[in-house]
Symmetry: C3
Subunit: 489 residues, 3 copies
């Protein structure tokens, strides 16, 4: 019996070996080659990016190149692209010695994820029935970036505690789950979720939190000295925060309907975000001695309004409605950092490095609820007949759906997102815990770039002068010169 226990322990708790020299290159090469083959078999340009565009124009009576979807969406795409790589990347540089890992692994998994997302989403949404090929254009690459965002949110919970190999696996499964979940929510249930409160944020957050729960590290406080920030790493993180904050109106409007849809989504998001900032500063100041503000709150909770407007941004929620959503979310999210994150870590055994529960999970769920209510209360008097049909796509099979029914389906969509996040996270978490050459760090080496990166010696780092210490007095001069030597580099 003791033997079995010991055997189990030795099976599940092998000493960690963070050497990824074989596993990371192998996974990168194999998956990239797989992408090339699959793209070769399945992916082509769509009507608007193919050289046959000029013929397509004639056929469809399009008078001008400016009608190409590229010109409707490219500026928003680039803003979203910045959010994915600089926004998420730099938001995760706040740790004092994990900035390389924060921005670097974010880069790696996003670059892989968007390729796999183009395929997965393509099979579900952009398959040409004539030839069985996926036809891609600007909207597909925006959606691929969105899909990746779900996995980057999950990374936020695991920051500093997993290996890049694990992250690649997390991303492969995450994208797959995302595409299925998105298909069920958007196509089967015919739910509207342009900015992804449910599809992206709720799913991504619960996916990451569940994985973090399964990968719980009881001795994580051994890495305590590296789990905080330093002055300049906090300023770096503000780059991420601000680019996310500024470009969020583009995130929520990027794939909204042409014309008033995109226009309204941008305005609503702009307002909700502004309100979040004020309540975040208020709660942060209220909660500390002498009213001192906490950078963690400013870096994160100010963004909650954008998350929560993901579903309702394109609806006629009205400007003051957006402000209310932002107002509430700033409070909830900051409160989460103050109370819920420590509670979850202590009692639920969920270690959430970036606090994604406060920034994505709660505001995401709230956003889904707000969307359901706003949809349920939509009326022709507010939208106009044509506006209502356009906004909710009450066409074809759905021509007879009423706003009230739509509200119900919206709520159902939220449940689907939650279920996929939790169940999917449990499965992937279990896989990532299998004893295998994952290369994850030991509890003592979490939050440390030294594990996976060649870290440059800092000018402030001390050259080996321990040897002087035993016969110090007579060597003072040497020590001082040495000190000067490295400081005046």
């Amino acid at each position: 019996m003791g033997n079995i226990a010991a055997c189990c322990r030795s099976f599940w708790c092998k000493p960690k070996n963070p050497d990824i020299r074989i596993s990371l290159p192998a996974i990168c090469f194999v998956w990239q080659i797989a992408m090339i083959i699959l793209f070769g078999l399945f992916v082509r340009y769509d009507d608007e990016s193919d050289a046959h565009w000029s013929e397509h124009k004639h056929k469809n009576n399009i008078t001008s190149d400016i009608e190409n979807d590229f010109y409707y969406r490219y500026p928003s795409f680039q803003d979203v692209h910045v959010m994915i790589f600089v926004g998420f990347g730099f938001l995760m540089t706040f740790l004092k010695r994990y900035s390389f890992g924060g921005v670097g692994f974010n880069f790696l998994i996003a670059a892989f994820g968007l390729q796999w997302a183009l395929l997965m989403q393509g099979w579900f949404h952009s398959l040409d029935p004539n030839d069985g090929l996926i036809k891609i254009g600007i909207e597909n690459i925006i959606n691929a970036d969105f899909c990746v965002a779900g996995c980057l949110i999950a990374y936020g919970a695991l920051l500093g505690k997993v290996s890049p190999v694990q992250l690649m696996v997390l991303t492969l499964f995450g994208i797959t789950l995302f595409a299925v979940e998105e298909y069920i929510i958007l196509n089967v249930l015919h739910v509207r979720d342009a900015g992804g409160s449910m599809v992206i944020h709720t799913f991504g957050a619960y996916y990451g939190l569940t994985i973090s729960w399964i990968l719980y590290r009881p001795k994580l406080d051994h890495s305590k000295n590296l789990s905080g920030s330093v002055y300049h790493s906090d300023v770096f993180a503000m780059i991420g925060t601000l680019f996310l904050w500024m470009y969020w109106p583009s995130f929520n409007s990027a794939i909204a309907d042409h014309g008033d849809g995109q226009h309204r989504a941008a305005i609503n998001t702009y307002l909700a975000l502004a309100a979040s900032v004020l309540t975040t500063f208020a709660i942060s100041s209220l909660s500390a001695k002498k009213g001192k503000l906490d950078m963690v709150h400013i870096q994160n909770a100010t963004l909650a309004g954008g998350v929560a407007m993901g579903t309702a941004a394109e609806f006629m929620i009205s400007p003051y409605g957006s402000l209310i959503v932002g107002f509430v979310c700033g409070i909830i999210s900051t409160f989460g950092y103050l109370v819920i994150t420590p509670f979850m870590e202590k009692y639920l055994k969920i270690q959430d490095t970036c606090g994604i529960h406060n920034l994505h999970a709660m505001p995401g769920v709230l956003g889904g609820v707000v969307g359901a209510i706003t949809a349920a209360t939509a009326s022709e008097s507010v939208y106009g007949h044509e506006g209502l049909v356009n906004t909710f796509d009450f066409e074809g099979n759905y021509a007879k759906r009423t706003p009230a029914t739509q509200g119900g389906f919206q709520a159902a969509g939220l449940c689907v997102a939650l279920a996929f996040g939790i169940v999917g996270g449990a499965i992937v978490g279990f896989i990532l815990r299998l004893p295998c050459c994952w290369g994850d760090p030991s509890d003592e080496n979490c939050f440390d770039d030294e594990v996976y990166w060649e870290v440059p010696e800092d000018e402030e780092s001390i050259p080996p002068i321990l040897e002087y210490s035993s016969h110090m007095v007579g060597k003072n001069t040497d020590m001082i010169e040495n000190t000067i030597g490295y400081n005046t580099l």
Copy 2:
């Protein structure tokens, strides 16, 4: 008599208490709730962002969604948005220990200011006479960002010396004054100022300088050790500089006329900025021993060309005219940092932390003058009849205005901006000096994030080793180990 003096002193010069735990949350909550109520009463979507857009299209024979103003202005809006939050924010991170305050308080007051600006500007410019409601669209949110810029410029003069509570008050009044001033200049005087040389820069700079004059701190040199930069804070500030510099063409063209107006404004600003860079480098190098360049000049004076093109950018100033404006402004602005800022501090008792007099006040006034001259000399031979009418809006009541008259009105507009800045600044400065729970720092604690922020301990910070110093010789070993301890984190 002495009693009264003492009483006065005790009234005006109470010891500072920078605790903002009650005042900051209170002001944030009260004002945000006020915004929600006022938005609820007054603010709705305009024709292009409302769900009735499709009906509006039919009614006005608009054939395509791409004609929605969103597609004309959204890319420029996002660039302006980046300038407000990353540009101004990071430009103010240059101080060694006030980066949190620079970027953080900039974030706070901009997020509040844009809401209040939507209301104030809305009442003046976007009121629907049918229902008394403000109708907002993309142009309103660009203008709100512009309005906020005026207050952020003022913050530049006060950086490190005021509390966030004072900044909120400064912003509330600043936006109010701005909206009135803007209404008088643009609507009453019918002046053109697309990029805001007068309306934004001149007003904002004199508003801030006057406040700084009234809040003069005679013992500010007690904070001298924190009033400079460190190597990496200067690099952070360059992020702000470059995003301002790169996106300034969008700033000056964002609300210019569709078509040639936006196109020309972008080109002119692009050229003026390029010329500023060369003369800034030249004067900076010329003024120092061995020609060493000063980062303060590069961070700021390179932008002067953009400020000075704010009025004339959409006029036919011609490419070489833009270069001349940039050339002159780079010289004046750098010269300002070398001579005028120290002079103002010593003799006029105006402490101008970021040197906004050099970057915004002088180039802003110059921009107003350039605009007046360019307008006065405009002619049908250069603009074409239709072009002249479009560019200067010589329509309706103003159909008979000549370019010469327009030039005169432009000059009058400059005077209005100056007057509002100085008088408004005097009033607000006086308010901010009233003995009250402003929470501003004492002279010893200026430029220090410790006052309002939870600042992380730096890895370089020294653990308490003072205790060793009295019996040092025998403890050398400890000290060294200690040193190694904190350096090799």
Copy 3:
């Protein structure tokens, strides 16, 4: 004989004097004034940025302002602008003590270069035959930014080893050579190169490498202690990397054909870049002990896919073709950093600070080859008749050119770019070696901002305590207090 040798040596090897107080201001002023005069003589607005646009619209039956080229290209222009100033600028901040020089001199020479480029390119491409004037619009300023990119690439090889005066000269000649080379390639040979694999990257890289070869510094290892990075300088460099990476689709599509051309170029570049990231991480990890990643690779080689898609991005290379290009380039480029750069430095005497041979030269040449092959294999079945004509501009004099011939000309274009880079670089390198008041640093002072910048004293820097060292024992207390003094600022 010995006399002549000594004389020669004293002529060629004068002691370095990096004082630029006269030369830098002189060159800035003279050249900026020259620009103003030349712009006054030659440069005017084009039809779309001139106030006569409304008349132009009527004449050409243009129904809407949105047809102004500004709206097709301005968003891409701004992205390119960010790449030039933040992308290239911050990519060069990676050195521990040359961040000011990296981002600052990049700023200076780009701001000068774009003016000269507007003239040089204008004479070749935008001359109005009616009046002999250059007419500029949005496409001209994009092209000016492109032209500047060539010189900034060259700067990458020389980073830290040349003076700003030398850089200005390098830029003047570089822009001139670029414009001639571009004219020959694009107009005489009628080659397509929208993203500039050949015109920009190949030319720029070989231009810089040849100059670096001629300016070889045998004793550069005297500056070895400054030739690396520190932790935070590597994070700064990631800002540059990411903005280059994210906006590269705009770079390659900015001047592509309206409609499908721009659309396809963006998608292809997006895919190639994603593939580069994966192979870069793979090779970087594979090459190091324990699989530790090297920031130099991540900062640079991830971009190789964008360089290599410069020519073929607007062709029907198909999505999987783009992935293959990115896949190969990531490998080649990382391999270059591991093997070729050290080899070149040791055996070919080419010191390449930023490794532009790996990031621009090799991928640029590869991009030219890929472009030639893709063009040669183009067919009407893939492009459609109209699409083929549009994509390759088989109109006018070139109406009868076949894809196969076009492929040959593409290859010829690559040779022209190479020849201009190497021969031009040799000439300019020789000029920059002439004994003259260039102000370049001595071998001991390379990579050091102290030479050209007023560098702020860091809080970590040590105050002069050498004086204590000779009578140390009794002064320990002072030293420690001193230490505390500067550390607890």
